[in-house]
């Protein structure tokens, strides 16, 4: 076989395997740095920290988690997020409805509302540290109507609501844009029919808009929930550091503290696994809800 022919056959083999060559780098990175760590972490959560490093400890880490007031608090705060979720979906939903109905200035509103969604949580948190300071603008504004001052970030009963409020401020534009994309696929003749029938705005929303947008609404519910569970770290880190009195912990912040500050990686892995299960439940709920409505329409 001549050198030329050998080169040709090498080239042919290179060509035959082209799909694998193209996919390989991406798949290798994803497997090595996303899927493999997931298995490692679950495995890791059944081993010990410190003196018991590496030895199997069964469910000890999980038991410790359940007894840790900080972790309990973080789960309670997850519950609070779930309770506030309808609000975080309804606000952008209502605003998108009015923008879709071409309220005067709707173009300006659209671009202004979406703007905070592109800012880093760190920047949002830093800005709100200024806004919410005890002698800051918000308390000054409240003072003019005789309310307050409120210790927004220093009162354990208030701080978590404050942070969630800021999170909603920072992300409602994202949901708004998704809603508007949903409206683009809405059948306008339905709205016209409702208008001809003289239906009020409230009835139009309830009987026409909500049923037509059910898929979009579910999507926003799930993405907002996932966003609350996985993208509030920056806010917590900058605004409260989990305080006051550990009242603003979320699982992701707890994981960070146990890993980074307390040198308890195995305990942190157990918390990670719990967070993953919560996320899976949210994801599976979405799939089952989508299936049900998919079957209906």
């Amino acid at each position: 076989m001549g050198a030329g022919a050998r080169r040709a056959s090498l080239g042919a083999r290179f060509e035959r395997h082209a799909p694998y060559v193209l996919v390989a780098p991406a798949v290798l990175i994803i497997v090595a740095l996303r899927l493999w760590p997931l298995l490692l972490g679950v495995n890791f959560s059944f081993t010990g920290d410190g003196e018991r490093n590496g030895s199997a400890v069964g469910f000890d880490n999980y038991l410790e988690l359940l007894q840790d007031p900080l972790f309990q608090g973080s789960l309670r705060n997850v519950g609070l997020l779930v309770l506030l979720l309808p609000l975080a979906v309804a606000i952008p939903g209502m605003l998108a409805t009015f923008i879709y109905l071409r309220v005067p200035g709707h173009r300006v509103f659209r671009s202004v509302y979406f703007f905070p969604a592109v800012l880093s949580p760190v920047i949002v948190g830093a800005i709100f540290n200024l806004m919410l300071a005890f002698d800051g603008p918000l308390n000054a504004l409240l003072g003019t109507v005789g309310v307050g001052p409120v210790d927004w970030l220093g009162d354990p009963d208030v701080a978590m609501f404050t942070v969630v409020g800021v999170q909603i401020w920072a992300t409602f534009g994202m949901a708004l844009v998704v809603f508007l994309a949903g409206f683009a696929s809405l059948d306008a003749t339905l709205l016209d029919a409702a208008r001809v029938d003289g239906a009020s705005l409230a009835r139009t929303i309830w009987h026409v808009i909500i049923p037509s947008l059910s898929r979009t609404i579910q999507f926003v519910f799930v993405t907002t929930m996932i966003g609350m569970l996985t993208s509030m770290f920056g806010l917590l880190y900058v605004m409260t550091s989990g305080g006051p009195e550990g009242s603003t912990y979320l699982p992701e912040y707890y994981i960070w503290i146990q890993q980074g500050q307390m040198n308890r990686p195995a305990l942190a892995s157990a918390a990670s696994t719990v967070l993953f299960v919560i996320m899976l439940v949210v994801g599976l709920l979405q799939i089952s809800v989508l299936r049900r409505t998919g079957g209906r329409t």
């Binding site: 060509e15 799909p19 193209l22 996919v23 780098p25 991406a26 798949v27 990175i29 994803i30 090595a32 740095l33 996303r34 899927l35 760590p37 997931l38 972490g41 890791f44 605003l95 009015f98 109905l101 309220v103 005067p104 509103f109 202004v112 979406f114 703007f115 905070p116 592109v118 800012l119 880093s120 949580p121 760190v122 920047i123 830093a126 800005i127 709100f128 200024l130 603008p137 000054a140 844009v177 998704v178 705005l201 979009t216 993405t223 569970l229 996985t230 770290f233 920056g234 880190y237 900058v238 992701e252 960070w256 890993q259 990686p265 942190a268 892995s269 990670s272 967070l275 993953f276 996320m279």
Partner: protein, 275 residues
């Protein structure tokens, strides 16, 4: 009809107030950044009497924001370039080429979308430390690529699915190898999708806190966002300098938003309509 219009006008009032409340925090911060310390302490709400660029200059040079800015610029641009290259390669193969295992490989890529970073950060830190990649630029870049690649592949695959198979066939008849098809046909045709995914990936990497915090422990390797968090402790009694640092970090994103708002919104919604 008339009633609806009236209703619309009334709704516009609270919506305008909300719009103001959305913009005001940033205006307030920009105003504070321009004030002298004395001016800020005397009255933090008044409009600044002069544009004090001193604070910005101070935050940029002596506080070290310039260094953090350069770090972010380097890491983000290399990460996004890699994401687009690997994402479009995989997206092309998974959407246009038929080969054994393509479905399974696509599922592997998409399954990773369900794994948030918080869930894998502890073992990932260990893997990265074993590889000697903690506190290095390649380490952070690799972490970003791994984090945002599934999303990038998802969008590129669904975009390339819309390209008719005849185009690939025609290019092959013209004598192109598979790699030639990728380089000469798919990359140029993918530009609109690459642009909108690229903008989103840029925002994700630029705005990230947690990954950078985990991968870059030493101060001189900080990215810009971590630089902002460190300002808070250092300049808690010098709010105008603090506000200047925040402004420096926010301005690039503001610029991107002003010019590319449409593309950002399209990218965000692509996931919702195709998913």
């Amino acid at each position: 009809m008339a009633g609806r219009h009236l209703g619309n006008r009334i709704v516009a009032v609270p919506m305008a107030v909300l719009a103001l409340a959305t913009i005001y925090p940033l205006m307030f911060t920009a105003n504070v950044a321009m004030k002298s310390r004395r001016e800020y302490i005397l009255d933090r709400f008044s409009l600044t009497s002069s544009l004090q660029w001193d604070n910005i200059v101070k935050a940029w040079s002596s506080v070290g924001m310039a260094r953090y800015f350069a770090n972010s610029l380097l890491v983000v641009s290399v990460s996004v370039a890699l994401l687009l290259l690997l994402g479009s390669m995989a997206g092309f193969a998974l959407s246009q080429l038929r080969f054994r295992g393509s479905k399974a490989l696509y599922l592997v890529c998409i399954a990773a979308l369900l794994i948030p970073f918080q869930v894998i950060m502890v073992p990932l830190a260990r893997v990265m430390a074993d590889a000697g990649l903690i506190d290095t630029y390649p380490g952070l870049i690799l972490a970003y690529v791994a984090q945002f690649l599934p999303f990038t592949i998802f969008l590129m695959t669904s975009y390339y699915k819309g390209i008719p198979a005849e185009i690939v066939d025609a290019a092959r008849i013209d004598g192109n190898t598979t790699y030639g098809v990728y380089l000469r046909i798919m990359l140029p045709m993918g530009v609109p999708a690459l642009l909108s995914v690229g903008i989103l990936d840029t925002l994700f990497c630029w705005n990230d806190v947690l990954i950078s915090l985990l991968m870059m422990p030493s101060a001189e390797n900080r990215t810009l966002m971590i630089g902002v968090t460190s300002l808070r402790g250092q300049y808690s009694d010098d709010i105008p300098t603090f506000a200047s640092g925040v402004l420096i970090a926010a301005i690039p994103v503001l610029m991107v938003y002003l010019f590319l708002q449409r593309q950002i919104a399209d990218g965000v919604t692509a996931g919702s309509t195709k998913g």
